[in-house]
């Protein structure tokens, strides 16, 4: 029997209900995933502002991209964000998770409190932090003054603004990673620690040689999710700084948005979106490899 005939026979044996049940997804996929994907490849080679007809420009969008200082700036800003956000996030989440994983009262209460910023809208959190970060009357600078220290130009200084946003994002998201670390910690078999204690391993060595390696899957998830989150950063710089000062908080997503909606460069915005997606894919793949290898050795 040929492959074609085998396929036909398989289809004839199939449950029609199956096709009916998956039909909505197939339509959804064609309209909102497949079509946009194909169309993004068309757009990348055109100049278009949605009003006048599309104009074929060949590879001009790509040539423009590799010469666009703002694209590299936004990439650099995102990497700055991640370089601060990811270590801070892991350090804070693991610290709280280790505390919560000991014998204490009120674990659920504390976990619930730490999780609160996760559920609140990013817009509300950003408006709140805009006041906390305010140079003259902000809560953070008031606290620093109480401690006898100088004020920090949180959002005004081009070198500090992106790190400030990274701190805010950590505050907002750390709750979810505390929960993930807690789940990871509870999955480590107790026998490992018992065996280590019998062998005379110190608590520090137990942490380095048992806890940390066993949390590897959780760490990978956190690094990957934070990276994707970092590349999706939009509303925080939009509300806080508008991308400034001196483009220092211009994120990739904000740049795509500006190109599409302020300048009407749909083709170039689609090109940026494609290149950003490729970068995310690459970075996440490399991260997985590196983390898996580092812990294995």
């Amino acid at each position: 029997m040929s492959r074609r005939a085998a396929l036909l026979a398989a289809i004839r044996r199939s449950d029609t209900n199956g096709y009916i049940f998956v039909l909505p997804y197939v339509i959804f996929f064609l309209a909102f995933v497949a079509y946009p994907l194909v169309f993004s490849f068309v757009l990348m080679f055109h100049r278009w502002n949605l009003v006048s007809p599309m104009e074929w420009v060949g590879s001009k969008n790509f040539i423009r991209l590799v010469q666009d200082p703002l694209f590299f700036k936004s990439l650099f800003n995102t990497l700055t964000f991640l370089a601060i956000h990811i270590p801070l996030q892991i350090f804070a989440a693991l610290g709280f998770a280790l505390l919560l994983n000991t014998r204490i009262r009120g674990r659920g209460f504390f976990r619930g409190i730490y999780f609160l910023p996760v559920v609140v809208s990013g817009v509300a959190v950003t408006i709140l932090w805009q006041q906390l970060f305010s140079f003259d009357y902000g809560v953070l600078n008031s606290l620093l003054r109480l401690a006898g220290l100088g004020r920090v130009p949180w959002l005004i200084d081009a070198n500090i603004a992106m790190p400030s946003i990274a701190v805010m994002a950590t505050w907002k998201n750390v709750g979810i990673y505390i929960v993930l670390f807690l789940a990871g910690l509870q999955g480590i078999p107790r026998e490992l620690y018992e065996a280590a204690r019998i062998d005379g391993a110190s608590p520090l060595r137990q942490f380095l040689y048992i806890t940390f390696p066993m949390l590897n899957p959780t760490i990978i998830i956190i690094v990957v999710l934070s990276t994707i989150g970092g590349f999706s950063l939009f509303i925080e710089p939009y509300v806080l700084t508008g991308g400034g000062p001196m483009q220092s908080t211009l994120s990739g997503m904000l740049y795509i948005y500006n190109q599409a909606f302020y300048f009407g460069h749909m083709g170039y915005a689609a090109t940026l979106g494609f290149v950003y997606a490729a970068v995310i894919f690459l970075v996440v793949t490399v991260q997985r490899r590196v983390i898996e290898r580092d812990i294995a050795t």
């Binding site: 199956g18 049940f21 996929f29 504390f110 609160l116 909606f261």
Partner: protein, 269 residues
């Protein structure tokens, strides 16, 4: 570690997460001149900032819009997603494996690549400034399908066979037999979808310009960046508090479900 030290650290952490919210709420009740204060008390508390916000932006209408959009997406994501999940786990048809692979593949596509083309699709369909643009692209969730499939695989086949022998059709089996057993996964998918849509702000900012159709986070974001707030911190904090309030209230009652559903996103990595 001494347990006193542990509790001090834990409580300190709790303050770091809660105090800013308390400060936001109480400051929104204070007169403008007192907002720079660290404390939570004022002798001049009033709701004047809230009254101003309600007059300046149609925030209640935005609340209604957010509810309509989030509730619609949640309903379709659960119903359609569970149908696909059921077919993928319990029905036999050619192409099933391929379809499942496709769904997993779509979850790996960074959204940046389809964002602009999706927007253009909305423009071409004439859906901008309608609820359709806000609802249609998130009507089905690949992640929801995967969660449903996973859960349904754990339901004993004997139960489904028995129902089939009794003459139930697949629709009845899914909604009458499987659904009552699937409360945990339905709650997880529903809550996750609702929250994601409720907090979404980038997509509404792309497809909605008409104020009467804006969602709540969108209108508050534009209020804070536009000129309407007249640089009055009190107005901004009142608007942010109104935006945070519905979720905080829901969270107070259903905390466990929130944490479980939102943590489940971490398990797909």
């Amino acid at each position: 570690m001494k347990s006193v030290v542990k509790y001090i650290l834990l409580t300190g952490g709790a303050l770091v997460f809660v105090y800013p919210f308390l400060w936001m709420f109480t400051s929104s009740l204070k007169p403008e001149a007192e907002i720079g204060d660290l404390g939570l008390w004022s002798t001049a508390f009033s709701f004047i900032n809230y009254e101003k916000v309600l007059v300046k932006i149609p925030i209640l209408r935005a609340l209604l819009n957010s509810l309509i959009v989030s509730a619609s997406c949640t309903t379709t994501v659960v119903i359609l997603g569970s149908m696909v999940g059921y077919a993928l786990s319990r029905l036999r048809f050619a192409g099933k494996r391929g379809l499942y692979m496709l769904i997993l593949f779509t979850m790996m596509i960074p959204f940046q690549i389809v964002l602009i083309p999706q927007y253009i699709l909305m423009v071409k369909l004439g859906w901008t400034d309608t609820y359709l643009a806000l609802i249609a692209p998130t009507m089905i969730s690949a992640f929801g399908i995967v969660l449903f499939r996973q859960f349904f695989l754990s339901i004993p086949q004997a139960l489904i066979d028995a129902a089939r022998i009794d003459g139930c059709n697949e629709v009845t089996i899914l909604f009458r037999i499987i659904y009552p057993l699937s409360r945990p996964v339905i709650i997880t998918v529903a809550l996750l979808t609702f929250m994601t849509n409720w907090n979404e702000v980038l997509w509404p900012m792309m497809v909605v310009r008409e104020r009467s159709l804006m969602t709540m986070p969108q209108i508050v974001a534009l209020f804070s960046t536009g000129g309407e707030a007249e640089s009055q911190l009190g107005y901004l904090l009142a608007a942010a508090t109104l935006l945070a309030l519905p979720v905080v209230i829901a969270y107070a009652f259903f905390q466990r479900y929130f944490i479980e559903s939102m943590a489940s996103t971490g398990l797909k990595g």
